[in-house]
């Protein structure tokens, strides 16, 4: 139950968002805990989105560590 999984929001109806988890799996997810828009990636936990994932930050983290280790980016 604690295994939180990321999905992409396809459609929003009020507090409920149709969310694509890849490999053809879609589920309705409650988005009352986040401010999400269609197309956003969200972390879903027991049927509720608990956060919107920030793709820019993901890239930034990798860049930061590469710089730290003198790997050309």
């Amino acid at each position: 139950m604690c295994l939180a999984i990321p999905g992409r929001i396809v459609e929003i109806h009020g507090n409920i968002a149709k969310t694509d988890f890849g490999e053809g799996v879609t589920r309705n997810v409650d988005i009352s805990l986040v401010q999400a828009r269609e197309g956003d990636y969200v972390i879903v936990h027991a049927g509720f989105a608990i956060q919107v994932l920030d793709e820019k930050e993901a890239k930034k983290t990798i860049k930061l560590f590469k710089k730290l280790l003198n790997i050309p980016v």
Binding site: M1, C2, L3, A4, P6, G7, R8, N15, G22, D30, S32, L33, V34, Q35, Y41, I43, H45, A46, G47, F48, I50, Q51, L53, D54, E55, E57, A58, K60, T61, I62, F65, K66, L69, I71
Partner: protein
């Protein structure tokens, strides 16, 4: 899904860790971290690099003590409809599990989310429907949000929700094993933000990094921790910035504080953990199964329980041992015939280690 991968970076970090000549012990506190470690084989890689990683109390079902499971069973035995996450079905109360209770004719239903439980209540107005609410800060906001948005009259919460950081505080204060650093759980941190970890830093001066769940996340976190340890400069770092912010999910925290209040509660394997239980506030007392059905629950007494013989879950939850150290692992105890909760829950150390090793007694 967008990817968090970079093999060049991963390899480089492994090289760096090798150069550091480490001999350290870290703890993470999350089933998903254990899953990543074992599934990716990273645990063995770390071991060779002198880095041992233990799973602490980060499995909500495992840390729920038998008396709280027993409460759910007793309510079901009294004719109430019990809704529960599938993962909690096979954990035993004092003598049986909810799964056994269902086999005996009790109305116990598996739900994926609290929303499913509410639907069951809506569809069965003649029944009293109780949701066994287990989980840390990751799950509890869903319960809070559901209550705040209104639930049917015949719907009740049996709260086993817990605040996670106080358990780490107790674990560190016990000082039973040497821990050089903590890999903090990404999804609890999504909600809490970083402030609980600053508290631990001030109190125990222990290096901490919040990490995501890809193998690369764990490598980056372990690398950052190793650097902190080597430099002797403990701090709180956040590797999982794509999900975790300094202040966490403010809305979720607000919901939590509107619905729950902390109280002292026992965790499996732990002494009393102060202010770690989430109890429904007075305003929600007509939804609190412990208040509404107090007469039924009066007989459930924590003293009535003995841990299964030979099971080392208690020590596993405090990070003192790994499931491979349990003599029952893989023979008397398997996911089909679990002896303790750490083998029942898919987030439990024993269950995860069994799943990826087929129960072979290897030291990972």
């Amino acid at each position: 899904m967008f990817e968090f991968k970079d093999s060049q970076l991963a390899n480089r970090i492994i090289e760096e860790l090798k150069k550091m000549n480490l001999n350290i012990r870290l703890m993470h506190a999350c089933g998903t971290h254990q899953d990543t470690l074992i599934k990716s084989g990273l645990n063995s890689v770390f071991k060779e690099l002198g880095i041992e990683i233990r799973q602490g109390p980060g499995c909500p079902i495992c840390v729920t003590p038998a008396n709280e499971i027993e409460e759910a069973i007793v309510l079901a035995e009294h004719g109430l409809t019990l809704t529960v996450f599938g993962d909690a079905m096979r954990v035993t109360g004092f003598s049986k599990s909810l799964y056994d209770a269902r086999a005996e004719g009790c109305d116990v239903r598996i739900v994926y989310s609290i929303s499913d439980a509410v639907k069951i209540a809506e569809g069965n107005p003649d029944k009293k429907v109780v949701f066994l609410a287990i989980g840390f800060e990751t799950t509890a906001p869903a319960t809070a949000s559901t209550l705040l948005h209104g639930v049917p009259e015949n719907f009740y919460i049996l709260s086993s929700h817990r605040y996670f950081p106080p358990a780490l505080d107790v674990l560190l204060s016990l000082g039973e094993i040497r821990l050089d650093g903590l890999i903090q759980p990404g999804h609890v941190s999504v909600i809490t933000g970083l402030s609980p970890y600053y508290h631990l830093l001030r109190k125990y001066n222990i290096p901490q990094v919040v990490a995501g769940f890809e193998p690369l996340d764990m490598l980056l976190a372990v690398y950052s921790l190793s650097k902190q340890i080597k430099a002797g400069t403990p701090k709180v770092e956040n590797e999982y910035t794509r999900a975790v912010t300094e202040e966490g999910n403010i809305l979720a925290k607000e919901y939590l504080s509107k619905v729950f209040e902390p109280y002292d509660v026992v965790w499996r394997g732990f002494p009393l953990v102060k202010s770690s239980g989430m109890r429904l506030k007075k305003e929600f007392k007509d939804k609190d199964a412990r208040i509404v059905f107090a007469d039924i629950l009066a007989g459930v007494n924590v003293q009535d329980y003995e841990e299964p013989k030979g099971c080392r879950c208690n020590e596993i939850l405090r990070g003192l041992v790994d499931s491979f150290d349990c003599p029952l692992f893989g023979n008397k105890c398997t996911p089909d015939h679990p002896v303790g909760p750490c083998m029942v829950s898919i987030e439990g150390n024993c269950n995860i280690n069994y799943r990826y090793t087929g129960g072979r007694r290897i030291k990972v």
